[in-house]
């Protein structure tokens, strides 16, 4: 949990807006540090968390969370955290053994055309705590790291957007919880002219998700090039629906990731420059 980001977003584990769909995106940079922030944030806020970790192993998330002061193993034991380790699940599907024991959640690997219904079922059943745990934990939270890897595995953009829409409807609207999704994209923003190219998949996914989201954190590299002391910039974009139309508010910060956190500062005010 990065306290500087909390003050930018005006939240804290004690009081945060419910029903938000937060999109974390990056372009030629790496925004996965924000996923770790939100994971530790919601675990501290005593929410019931479902984490769909598709790109890294559980031990990675656990080791980073340990540094941020949260123990994933304890949270799992207490029933606060439901963790889907995509890498582990995928292996039994990609290399079918005699005894087929893989969980149903990663069924799309067998045939990507089927879609992500089974993954959504996993999320829904994980967050609908039927055993009276509603009072023990706060609102449900879904974290996905990351959605665009599904496209690499053959899932269509439409299926991924359907998945995110279903999750938003269930978690944000019905249960008043929060959803955080990471989507990665490596093209430049302006080269979106050619239409139904395969590579435009991540671009279209990003557009669709930013249409759905209520808060977007867009991470990208510095436009002036690589720098060792400033790792990139993040644009925070709030979209609020009010009676008199939609309000968007944008703020731009530069950031640097440290060993146990990250610092955010206004442009040009890095300690390396001043």
């Amino acid at each position: 949990m990065f306290t500087e980001l909390n003050s930018i977003l005006n939240t804290s584990p004690d009081s945060f807006t419910q029903g938000e769909f937060i999109l974390v995106s990056d372009r030629q940079s790496d925004a996965s540090f924000l996923i770790h922030h939100f994971l530790s944030f919601y675990l501290r806020a005593r929410c019931k968390v479902c984490f769909v970790g598709l790109v890294q192993s559980y031990s990675h998330y656990s080791a980073v969370s340990q540094r941020l002061g949260v123990s994933l193993a304890q949270a799992k034991e207490k029933g606060q955290l439901i963790f889907l380790e995509g890498l582990k699940e995928s292996l039994s599907i990609l290399n079918p053994q005699e005894a087929d024991t893989g969980s149903q959640a990663m069924d799309f690997l067998r045939d990507p055309a089927v879609g992500l219904r089974s993954l959504y079922e996993f999320v829904r059943s994980g967050l609908s705590s039927s055993d009276g745990g509603e009072d023990e934990w706060g609102p449900p939270v879904l974290l996905v790291d990351d959605l665009s890897v599904l496209l690499s595995l053959g899932v269509s953009v439409g299926a991924a957007l359907d998945f995110s829409h279903y999750c938003r409807a269930t978690v944000c609207s019905q249960k008043q919880g929060n959803v955080v999704m990471l989507a990665r994209c490596d093209g430049e923003e302006d080269e979106e002219d050619d239409g139904d190219d395969e590579g435009e998949g991540s671009e279209r996914l990003l557009k669709g998700l930013s249409h759905q989201c209520s808060l977007a954190l867009q991470v990208r590299g510095l436009p002036t090039g690589y720098c060792r002391d400033i790792h990139g910039q993040v644009e925070v974009c709030w979209r609020r629906r009010q009676a008199d139309g939609q309000h968007t508010q944008k703020k731009l910060f530069q950031y640097k990731v440290h060993d146990k956190g990250a610092s955010f500062f206004a442009r040009g005010t890095s300690s390396a420059v001043l």
């Binding site: 996965s32 582990k88 290399n95 990507p112 990731v257």
Partner: protein
């Protein structure tokens, strides 16, 4: 096991009566043992990272190790985007395998173009003062009676009484070895290493009835890899603790047409997700095993840049080689010291928030007479007043102007006096 420990602890005070009793305590109580570091650390040819404690192995190229933050972390994949003629990327792959041979790791080599045994025959020759240790003929004699080999030293009789320290030097203090690319490794060293070859034309692939996005060739490769990892005990989960070893996996030219992939042939390939799915499975497999992989991909053939981006993101490290061979940069005096440029596409995120970023991204590689090395492209200004430095600076400036104007680089040679 406990019996032997008790007898050892009983024997210890008997031998040394004067020893204070406080030091004897850890021997007697079982719950109060000396904290030993993880037994993973005792694998030869590995060392823990200073940043995050990851177990690292050397790539064989010392400068590449430095670039990757000390070495390749075990359980990760290094993607090398091949240069145009696959000469330098193949060399890095051979360095990686040769380092495995010298460190006595096991190898898994897969290729569709050349037979893996041919690749193994081209491994560079290690420059070792202690190369005798790794020869299989002398290895057992050295381990049981070291005096024997010292007697064999006829010429250098003066050094007979020197302590034998070379083996320790090779295993712990120095990381990675040096190689002479002008010679190939001697066959007996090479054959001492256990190698699992995977040559696609000789490998039967069964067509799978499922709708999986993977190709049969990739599924067969993944299956074969998993078999080796489980059979030979490279799985982290296996309780076998007596001797752990590292499996080095070299996969040559994945994504080329010979693997049955149409990634290189079409803008919109039918099997566009096959390689990405394979790399996902490979990552899943490696994260739970003591193995490390180097994958080369002919990226200059892949038209679809976004596909290449998704392939890169599914590897942990990614570097790209851009050779000057055949390009007009070959004759450019600015680059005359180098053979190509090296781009760092991706650095790993492993068990830590911050990734190990390189100091600078302007890197070039060159192949010296015996050695491949990676250097900074633009050296910082050196302040010694030498004529050659001045002329070099002017030369570089003149070339930049000339190339900016679009004219050739001819006529700049006379500046070099």
């Amino acid at each position: 096991m406990s019996v032997t420990r008790v007898t050892a602890s009983m024997a210890a005070p008997a031998n040394r009566v004067s020893k204070p009793s406080g030091e004897r305590l850890p021997f007697n109580t079982t719950s109060f043992q000396k904290k030993t570091r993880s037994k993973l650390l005792s694998i030869p040819g590995t060392r823990p990272s200073v940043q995050n404690g990851q177990l690292l192995v050397s790539t064989g190229v010392t400068s590449l190790d430095y670039l990757l933050g000390g070495g390749l972390a075990v359980g990760t994949v290094l993607l090398i985007e091949e240069d145009r003629y696959d000469s330098y990327s193949r060399m890095i792959l051979k360095y990686f395998l040769a380092e495995g041979v010298v460190c006595r790791h096991e190898l898994f080599v897969a290729a569709a173009q050349d037979n893996p045994t041919d690749i193994l025959q081209e491994l560079p020759d290690p420059i070792l003062d202690d190369v005798a240790i790794h020869k299989p003929v002398e290895q057992p004699r050295l381990s049981c009676e070291p005096h024997d080999s010292l007697d064999a030293m006829k010429i250098a009789w003066r050094y007979q009484n020197l302590p034998k320290v070379q083996s320790a030097l090779a295993s712990s203090s120095r990381f990675g070895h040096y190689y002479d690319v002008s010679k190939t490794m001697e066959p007996e060293i090479r054959q001492a290493a256990k190698c699992h070859p995977f040559y696609l034309p000789e490998h039967p692939t069964q067509s799978s009835p499922t709708h999986s996005p993977m190709l049969e060739s990739y599924s067969a490769l993944l299956k074969s890899l998993e078999d080796v990892i489980h059979r030979e005990g490279f799985d982290v989960a296996t309780p076998m603790s007596n001797s752990r070893n590292i499996l080095r996996i070299g996969l040559h030219s994945l994504g080329s047409a010979l693997w049955g992939d149409d990634l290189c042939c079409h803008d919109n390939p039918r099997h566009g997700h096959a390689l990405a799915t394979f790399l996902y499975g490979l990552r899943a497999l490696l994260r739970s095993s003591l193995a490390v992989a180097v994958v080369t991909v002919p990226s200059h053939l892949i038209q679809n840049r976004a596909l290449m981006g998704s392939i890169t993101r599914l590897c942990d490290n990614a570097i790209a080689l851009e050779s000057f061979k055949g390009s007009e940069r070959e004759t450019n005096p600015l680059y005359k010291d180098y053979h190509g440029l090296l781009h760092v596409r991706q650095v790993p995120h492993l068990n830590c928030l911050v990734s190990q970023l390189p100091d600078h991204k302007d890197l070039a590689f060159k192949l010296k007479r015996k050695q491949f090395s990676i250097e900074r492209l633009h050296l910082p200004p050196d302040l010694s007043e030498t004529v050659s430095r001045v002329s070099r600076g002017e030369l570089a400036g003149a070339t930049m102007v000339a190339s900016a104007c679009g004219s050739g680089t001819s006529g700049n040679k006379h500046l070099d006096f």
